[in-house]
């Protein structure tokens, strides 16, 4: 049996799956103490179930999100090697930043050497300012990590107690400023995250669960609890991924759909295209800083079932905040849910109180409760539909760097609009009508997020870059740089090598059984030609384990995703 737990801002959902069937669900309030919340949800779905029957527990966590939002982490100093390029003063990082000499170019060649005396001087200053955590990041360190390693080694030698993070180990993709932020956040949160992982591990073993424990990531993949220690920041923003995967699990395989998750105060929009959730092309923004953290392409709209509605002069305005439950459920102020109640689009709460709420808003304007209600729901629907349209446009506007990519671009408008989350029932049919699609509210929609967590596949990827002219290759995720000795090294051999590394990585994480159905997600080969002669090749290959879900849920039986 699988357990999925998704921690939200107000509620935490849990589900117990027995193959394709939902055996138990639970909804508890999210409390200040994340650990207590998780355990409460866990205990509730496990009522009467022996811990030994649980093969797998997956949960999302807001621990990093909260640490960052509340800035409850130790200060981190930055040592950067930006080299020539953008004016480094353009980068604004929220901490003391020291720029030192040293530069690497796009092919990993040193263009400006390091000066260790400067490293020592900067380290002394950081020490004098009380820093014990330092992130060291160089431009193009993903192409050659030598400078970062040298600086880090120097710091460790002089300050053995310091916690040092190196950029190339956190983020192997191109984009230096994002690498700085990702490394900074990793350095800032790792220690506290370790503490959290330890407590979880203990609590779970107390309950006799011997199955695997996984953490959901923002890109919809999962990682074994212990492995998530390597990349704590990747655990943020996993909520929207949970609901999207849940919809994927509750839908027939291979379908395309718009996912509309209407919660209390926000609505999350996502796309499933031919059965796979769409990934965002760039990393997420955390605390107003751009990172390398991959996530599903999710748009959050600040409107939901508990959004406060007020009269301002002659206008009726919907606000993004929540001041408690809807009026019809005994809350203090009118909300969008009250509007739905008046129109008969939901059966939640008391009809009379809902009318009263609309009367409070519309009375002075001479509007009947029904008129106010349709005005309010109309506006919510308009806002959401507009954002869905924008999301399609943005997706169609994604840059393309190859002729075939430009030519294959076409307008895709999924005809299925899936509603999940508490507020979906009232709005989804009208949203679908506006988009010209069919509304679907799958069974178990209110706990789709927990289902998504339960069935999310573990994901691992390995990115290999080989430069045959210089005779070396890099495994980005491992921060490994190795020599190429084989003189006939080519694309096929590079692919085999990448797969080997993925295998190694999988066995380190105890995920050997994920190696079936590997996907090659990037395969770029450039001949390097100088003076009309081919002198080498640049090969970039990314292999990953299959993304998505382990099986579909519903209808009693269960179908494994092909």
């Amino acid at each position: 049996m699988y357990i999925g737990i998704d921690v939200g801002g107000t509620c935490t959902d849990a589900v117990l799956l027995d193959r394709g069937a939902v055996r138990a669900t639970a909804k508890v309030s999210t409390r200040e103490d994340l650990l207590l919340t998780l355990l409460e949800a866990l205990d509730e779905v496990m009522k009467g179930i022996n811990g030994e029957l649980i093969e797998r527990v997956v949960f999302s966590t807001t621990v990093i999100t909260n640490l960052i939002a509340e800035k409850k982490y130790d200060p981190v100093g930055l040592i950067l090697m930006p080299g020539p390029g953008l004016n480094p003063n353009l980068y604004r990082f929220p901490t003391d930043t020291y720029i030192i000499q040293g530069a690497i170019d796009y092919r990993g060649r040193e263009i400006i050497p390091l000066r260790l005396a400067e490293v020592d001087r900067v380290a002394e200053e950081l020490a004098a300012r009380g820093y014990r955590k330092v992130a060291v990041v160089g431009k193009f360190s993903c192409r050659n990590h030598r400078h970062e390693k040298e600086v880090a080694a120097r710091l460790r030698w002089n300050y053995p107690n310091w916690h040092i993070e190196e950029g190339h180990q956190v983020a192997g993709q191109l984009n230096f400023p994002r690498r700085v932020v990702s490394t900074y956040l990793t350095c800032a949160t790792r220690e506290k995250y370790q503490f959290f992982v330890r407590s979880i591990r203990e609590a779970i073993s107390q309950r006799g669960i011997k199955g695997g424990v996984f953490i959901l990531k923002a890109d919809g993949g999962t990682l074994p609890l212990e492995s998530s220690l390597e990349v704590p920041v990747e655990t943020i923003f996993s909520g929207p991924a949970a609901s999207t995967l849940g919809v994927q699990a509750l839908m027939p395989p291979g379908e395309s759909a718009v996912v509309v998750d209407i919660g209390g105060t926000t609505t999350d929009l996502a796309l499933i295209l031919s059965g796979q959730p769409l990934l965002a092309s760039r990393g997420v923004r955390v605390d107003d800083m751009l990172t390398h953290v991959r996530a599903l392409a999710v748009k959050s709209v600040p409107v939901g079932g508990d959004s406060v509605v007020e009269r301002v002069g002659k206008d009726i305005v919907i606000y993004s905040e929540r001041l408690g439950a809807p009026y019809c459920l005994g809350g203090p102020v009118p909300t969008t849910t009250d509007a739905l109640r008046v129109l008969g689009l939901t059966r939640l709460g008391d009809a009379e109180r809902a009318r009263e709420a609309m009367q409070i808003l519309g009375g002075p304007l001479g509007l009947s409760p029904a008129e106010v209600a349709s005005q309010v729901t109309g506006e919510v629907i308009e806002t959401i539909v507009q954002e869905i349209e924008n999301m399609f446009t943005r997706w169609e506007q994604e840059p393309a760097y190859r002729v075939w990519e430009v030519l294959q671009k076409k307008k895709v408008r999924p005809s299925t609009v899936v509603g999940v989350g508490g507020g979906a029932a009232g709005f989804i049919s009208q949203i679908a009508a506006r988009l010209g699609g069919y509304p679907v509210i799958p069974p178990y929609a209110p706990v789709a997020n927990a289902i998504g967590a339960a069935v999310a596949r573990p994901t691992l990827q390995v990115t290999l870059r080989a430069d045959t002219e210089q005779g070396f290759y890099i495994i980005q995720e491992e921060g490994y740089q190795g020599k190429i000795t084989d003189r006939s090294f080519n694309e096929e051999k590079a692919l085999e090598l990448a797969k080997e590394w993925l295998c190694k990585r999988a066995s380190r994480y105890g995920l050997e059984d994920c190696m079936e159905g590997l996907e090659v997600t990037r395969r770029e080969v450039f001949n390097m030609v100088r003076d009309w002669v081919t002198i080498g090749r640049l090969i970039d290959i990314t292999v990953q384990t299959r993304r998505g879900i382990l099986y579909h849920v519903g209808g009693g039986g269960y179908r494994y995703e092909k």
Partner: protein, 456 residues
């Protein structure tokens, strides 16, 4: 203007090459991509990346006579490069962007009005397609093109040689020392567009100092006078000191400084084949300059050295600048009949060599000297491919601002040519009505293109 963005279309065509080892190959913008992505400039709020778009066959036919048809001379990559320029121009005219950079390949500034094949790595002229697009779709009249490629922009010059509303300025390495061997100060435009073509040949070896002397003392003053509504920079980067084809000594910062001063609406990448030592840095520099950012921290790993500019060569450039300033200032006082004669037609013979495709073309170009409009143009073109029969075609081009009489006369000329047995294909390009005709004599068939959707 202040809070508007700089638009970028980055289209490196990673799956398109002229041939595997040709300079115009997949690898050309690879390191530029690395540099631009790693710097994180696409995250800057002042820069917005756009997805490329295809130009239409009709957009190409508005400029070129492609033999036998547009479809036989262009690949999708060409249409994407041209379409990216028009896409950015749309956003600029609509006020979404303050300026833009079409960082695209393949290039186009050697492509002339008649296209028998590829010359100077170019098939169709991205800037010319943009100019005609701006006139047709946005009602823009006066346009300036400043070509900063090391090679003379002979294709662009050819297309606008008789067009008084398009100012074409090219500075480049002296044609006696580099392809295509043209672009001398005496090439000044036809009788109807005198001094609307300005060429500044630069002796090899000169650097940023001379570059900026030309910019400050010739290009900017002329632009000030001409008052274009839209400025296009044909942004070739092969004047860079590391370029393998050129022998100039410009730097990335020199290019950035030029971009800042010129302040073009749109920069369109042309040549530049130092793909590792120049392009990543020059492209970044141009992009930052367009976005109004500091580019003073950009530095190539190699330095141009302390070599002093050769004073004699620098003095020669100053003389050319003075001479051209003089011609520009007296452009309306000059006796055109003295230069071009008094006939109703002005004609010139051209021998055009297609270096990439080894084609020899002989052209007789005639322009009607009309007091009311720029006059229609006819071109008799014979191209020898080195095998089989040479292709012989006849082209008639009616300018955008044609008068009724010229338009009517041009249609007659086209009908007459259709009756002649010497031409395989006869073309009529009526820019005033946006209608393009092509007649295939062997098949006795006429094609008409009246806009996208027709014949596509």
């Amino acid at each position: 203007m202040k809070n508007k963005k700089t638009g970028l279309v980055f289209f490196p065509a990673f799956d398109w090459a002229i041939s595997p080892t040709h300079p115009e190959r997949e690898e050309r913008l690879l390191y530029t991509r690395d540099q631009i992505f790693e710097e994180g400039v696409l995250d800057l709020p002042e820069i917005e990346e756009y997805a490329p778009r295809l130009a239409t066959i009709h957009d190409v036919a508005r400029v070129h006579f492609c033999v036998p048809r547009v479809q036989s001379q262009v690949t999708e990559a060409h249409l994407i490069a041209a379409g990216s320029a028009t896409l950015l121009a749309d956003a600029i005219i609509q006020g979404e962007l303050k300026n833009g950079f079409a960082l695209v390949r393949p290039p186009g500034h050697h492509a002339m009005r008649v296209v028998h094949g590829n010359r100077g790595f170019c098939n169709i002229n991205n800037e010319a397609i943009l100019v005609e697009y701006l006139r047709r779709h946005h009602g823009i009249k006066r346009i300036a093109i400043v070509d900063s490629d090391v090679h003379h922009g002979d294709g662009t010059q050819d297309i606008f040689y008789h067009d008084p509303d398009v100012l074409f300025i090219s500075f480049h390495q002296d044609g006696r020392t580099i392809y295509p061997g043209t672009g001398f100060p005496n090439e000044l435009g036809g009788p109807g567009a005198y001094a609307r073509t300005i060429n500044v040949p630069l002796p090899p070896g000169l650097g940023d100092e001379t570059f900026h002397y030309v910019v400050d003392n010739l290009i900017l003053p002329i632009l000030d006078d001409f008052k274009p509504e839209f400025i296009i920079n044909s942004a070739g980067q092969d004047n860079h000191f590391t370029d393998p084809l050129g022998s100039m000594r410009f730097t990335a910062r020199g290019y950035a400084e030029f971009t800042r001063k010129l302040n073009p609406h749109l920069a369109v990448l042309e040549g530049g084949y130092a793909i590792e030592t120049a392009l990543p840095y020059v492209n970044l520099a141009i992009l930052l300059a367009l976005a109004g950012h500091d580019y003073s921290y950009i530095e190539e790993p190699e330095r141009p050295g302390r070599m002093q500019e050769n004073p004699e060569r620098a003095a020669m450039v100053k003389r050319i600048v003075d001479q051209l300033r003089d011609i520009w200032e007296n452009r309306d006082r000059v006796d055109l009949d003295k230069i071009f004669g008094t006939g109703t037609f002005y004609q010139r013979r051209k021998h055009i060599y297609y270096d990439t495709d080894y084609i020899e073309e002989e052209q007789l170009e005639k322009v009607r000297r009309c007091p009311n409009c720029p006059g229609y143009i006819t071109i008799d073109s014979r191209a020898d491919h080195g095998y089989g029969h040479p292709s012989h075609v006849f082209c008639v081009s009616i300018p955008f601002a044609a008068c009724g009489a010229c338009q009517a006369e041009a249609y007659d000329v086209y009908q007459q040519a259709r009756k002649s047995s010497q031409y395989q294909y006869i073309y009529l390009q009526d820019k005033s009505t946006d209608t393009f005709l092509a007649f295939d004599r062997d098949k006795g068939q006429e094609w008409v293109s009246e806009g996208p959707g027709v014949g596509e």
